[in-house]
């Protein structure tokens, strides 16, 4: 039965910080960076007020933050950190090490554009750049989703079939600093849901000494990497199982993605995080005019739910994939190339078009989204896509 929840008005960062308070991790090692700063700031207040038992480690950089978090995790602690943009970039080498050591670290990431030019606002260039680091990635449209995803992330990461780190992403400023109404679960409910972390092997187990991070060359590197790939495969079922269990305590339903009015849609937009909220408003107004439009908002990008996406999109006739970061490959954004590649296996391939949008925090409004739907209508009429990749809203 769903627990009685408290309706509160909070920013996304505040919601995440409160979630961390409820999780009460053993160790948090973090460095402040805009727009993640409030998470660490609120959490440090909880530490000094004695509201959590966490060992809070102040570090001199994000490279150290990730290293200390990994070390704590291998020592046997439930360890967390949080970051954005340049901070995530500075963590880069340790991100790979964390996933390959199979450390179930959970990290809120507040999406922010990477420099340069230097910019503090939202786009997804930071986490899109870390898709190959072996981390599970969950994306959140709202403060509520950031909160819900973070609780679930602990269970996903620590599941014995998975043991991989998880990033929980929300959009910088738009979600992290915007105040929204959301429901918080009671502290006790969250505590019970996440349970106690009991690793099978850990460095502080003096009875059973272990070595972590030894050399593995031509003889074993391949096998260790294959284990990692299998764990990511296992994560798919675990993500669904944890979501089902979470629904029971929260009443909120999660999957690999949210399909919004997609069932009978002829045209659809695929878009991540906060922009999906704007796009839903456009779907509603176009639907009111009788247009068959829908939306798909991915929640899980790693592991990539290729088969499920194909099932969800094959009945649509035209799809626009929206990427809030460029790859500079000239062949489209990351989301576009991955979804398009997945659809290669489908008998029914919709017309597909890519939009690069919202870079460096530029607003994407209902006007731009409406234009995307009408571009799709025009493509359907012609039976082909004229311009495969469009950089939306660029001044000439």
């Amino acid at each position: 039965m769903a627990a009685e929840q408290k309706r509160v008005a909070m920013t996304g960062n505040e919601a995440v910080a409160h979630c961390m308070r409820q999780i009460d991790p053993d160790v948090v090692a973090a460095y402040p960076i805009t727009p993640q700063t409030d998470i660490v700031q609120y959490f440090s207040t909880f530490v000094s007020n004695g509201q959590v038992k966490t060992e809070f480690v102040t570090v001199e950089s994000e490279h150290s933050a990730m290293s200390a978090t990994l070390g704590a995790s291998m020592a046997g602690a439930r360890a967390m950190t949080a970051t954005s943009s340049q901070g995530l970039a500075l963590m880069w080498e340790v991100l790979h090490i964390t996933s390959s050591y199979r450390a179930p670290v959970v990290m809120p990431v507040v999406n922010r554009a990477l420099s340069g030019p230097i910019n503090i606002h939202c786009d997804h260039s930071d986490t899109m750049g870390s898709l190959t680091t072996g981390w599970i990635q969950l994306y959140s449209e709202s403060a509520q989703e950031a909160y819900d995803n973070l609780i679930q992330a602990v269970r996903i990461a620590e599941h014995p079939d998975v043991l991989l780190p998880v990033m929980v992403c929300q959009d910088g400023f738009i979600t992290s600093h915007g105040i929204e109404n959301l429901n918080l679960l009671p502290d006790e409910t969250v505590k019970q849901f996440v349970g106690e972390y009991k690793p099978e092997h850990y460095l502080l187990d003096l009875e059973n000494p272990i070595t972590v991070g030894p050399l593995a060359l031509q003889d074993y590197y391949t096998e260790v990497k294959y284990q990692q790939a299998k764990a990511m495969e296992n994560a798919k079922q675990v993500i669904l199982d944890v979501a089902a269990e979470y629904e029971k305590i929260s009443g909120r339903k999660y999957g690999f993605f949210e399909a919004y009015k997609l069932d009978d849609a002829e045209r659809a937009i695929v878009v991540l995080s906060s922009t999906a909220g704007t796009a839903k408003a456009v779907v509603d107004s176009l639907r009111a005019r009788g247009e068959k439009v829908g939306l798909l908002k991915p929640r899980v990008l790693r592991p990539f739910p290729a088969k499920e996406l194909v099932d969800a999109l094959s009945s649509v006739q035209a799809v626009a994939i929206m990427d809030r970061a460029d790859t500079f490959s000239t062949a489209g954004g990351q989301l576009f190339v991955e979804i398009r590649s997945a659809l290669y296996e489908s008998d029914k391939r919709p017309l597909m078009k890519n939009y690069i949008l919202g870079l460096g925090g530029r607003d994407t409004t209902t006007r731009e989204i409406t234009k995307v739907y009408s571009d799709l209508a025009a493509a359907l009429e012609k039976g082909r896509v004229e311009e495969l990749i469009t950089h939306l809203d660029v001044r000439e």
């Binding site: 050591y101 000494p209 272990i210 074993y220 096998e223 299998k230």
Partner: protein, 95 residues
């Protein structure tokens, strides 16, 4: 690499769960040159024992007894420092 274990049979993340197992690692297979000891020519001065960086010279009761090929990497310093040279210690190509 026929004796190596499969991905299901090794701990995750390359972790080593057996303490002190470096003892089982035979560094001798790195060797390309192999020292040969000739007992008759040896005067048991133990210069080879002093210089060997891998403690691969076996000594018993103050006498040279042979070479531990599991750990000798074939650096050749024993043969170089041996005052009897070819008469007692010399290097050959590893077969």
């Amino acid at each position: 690499m026929t004796n190596l274990k499969g991905y299901k049979d090794i701990p995750i993340g390359g972790m080593i769960t057996e303490a002190g197992n470096s003892e089982k690692y035979k560094t001798g297979d790195w060797r390309s040159l192999k020292p040969i000891w000739n007992e008759e020519g040896c005067v048991h001065c133990l210069m080879c024992w002093v210089f060997c960086p891998d403690t691969a010279i076996i000594v018993e009761d103050g006498k040279m007894k042979g070479i531990n090929y599991d750990h000798c990497k074939g650096c050749g310093i024993c043969a170089r420092e041996c005052p009897r040279k070819e008469k007692a210690l010399y290097m050959v190509k590893e077969e």
